[in-house]
């Protein structure tokens, strides 16, 4: 399990939700909030690890996706 922390002022909550949904086929995620940050606990699914997908890479890609979406939403006028 890998814990990702996203600062509330820098990441968009909807973008994080969307990222978790996008990677739902490969990982299970537990979402919570703590001290001004969104916490996402990512665990790769056995099917994904059996295909050779690394949990760290999966988590990093999920975080990148969340950031990309946050930026796109901020540019489109959404909240960040």
């Amino acid at each position: 399990m890998i814990e990702l922390r996203f600062h509330e002022e820098l990441y968009d909550g909807f973008a994080i939700d969307e990222a978790v949904k996008t990677y739902a086929a490969y990982a299970t995620a537990e979402l919570s909030r703590d001290g001004g940050a969104y916490i996402v606990k990512v665990t790769a699914k056995p099917e994904a690890t059996s295909e050779g997908i690394d949990e760290r890479v999966l988590s990093a890609e999920l975080a990148n996706y969340a950031l990309g979406l946050t930026i796109e939403r901020a540019r489109a006028g959404g909240a960040a």
């Binding site: 922390r5 600062h7 002022e9 820098l10 990441y11 990093a60 890609e61 975080a63 990148n64 950031l67 990309g68 946050t70 930026i71 901020a74 540019r75 960040a80």
Partner: protein, 163 residues
């Protein structure tokens, strides 16, 4: 202490800078540029300080170069934002004019709704609205002589004024 600092890790680099140094949109813009080459993470590092972590996706990549490129990109993004801000009103004005022109000439209903009376009617001191036939039609003998006399008297009065 410098406003920007770098911390090189194994296959990654951490860049810290003051929040007031660059606008948030510039930080986002620079981060977006690196999203295909690196795993990018934004965070706060204490009071009013932003921390950007770049971890290269490609093994063996020189993260120090990425740090320099990120700094350049940050500066470029901030400069672009400033230009956009400075030219915002001009762009808005041009867009409004273009849209106004694209709307085309007024329709029949709009023309009928216009208040056009004798007082507000179009004045035509240069005779632009006059048809070609009206303007250049051949004058009859009597009319021609009269017109010539009028022209002559106008010329004479003009000469008096000039002297």
């Amino acid at each position: 202490m410098s406003d920007m600092s770098f911390h090189l890790g194994e296959g990654s680099v951490r860049i810290e800078f003051d929040e007031g140094l660059y606008p948030k949109d510039a930080i986002y813009g620079a981060a977006y540029v690196f999203i295909d080459r690196c795993w990018v993470h934004l965070d706060r590092a204490g009071d009013r300080r932003i921390q950007v972590t770049l971890k290269a996706k490609k093994p063996g990549a020189d993260t120090q170069i990425y740090a320099g490129e990120f700094q350049n990109e940050l500066l470029g993004q901030a400069w672009r934002l400033r230009i956009v801000e400075e030219n915002k009103k001009l762009v808005e004005s041009i867009t409004a004019r273009a849209l106004g022109g694209a709307a085309g000439p007024p329709g029949l209903d709009e023309l009928l709704a216009m208040d056009i009376g004798e007082e507000t009617a179009f004045e035509d001191p240069l005779g632009i609205a006059m048809s070609w036939e009206e303007k250049y039609k051949k004058k009859g003998k009597g009319e021609g002589a009269k017109a010539e006399a009028e022209d002559a008297s106008e010329g004479a009065s003009g000469g008096e004024k000039a002297s």
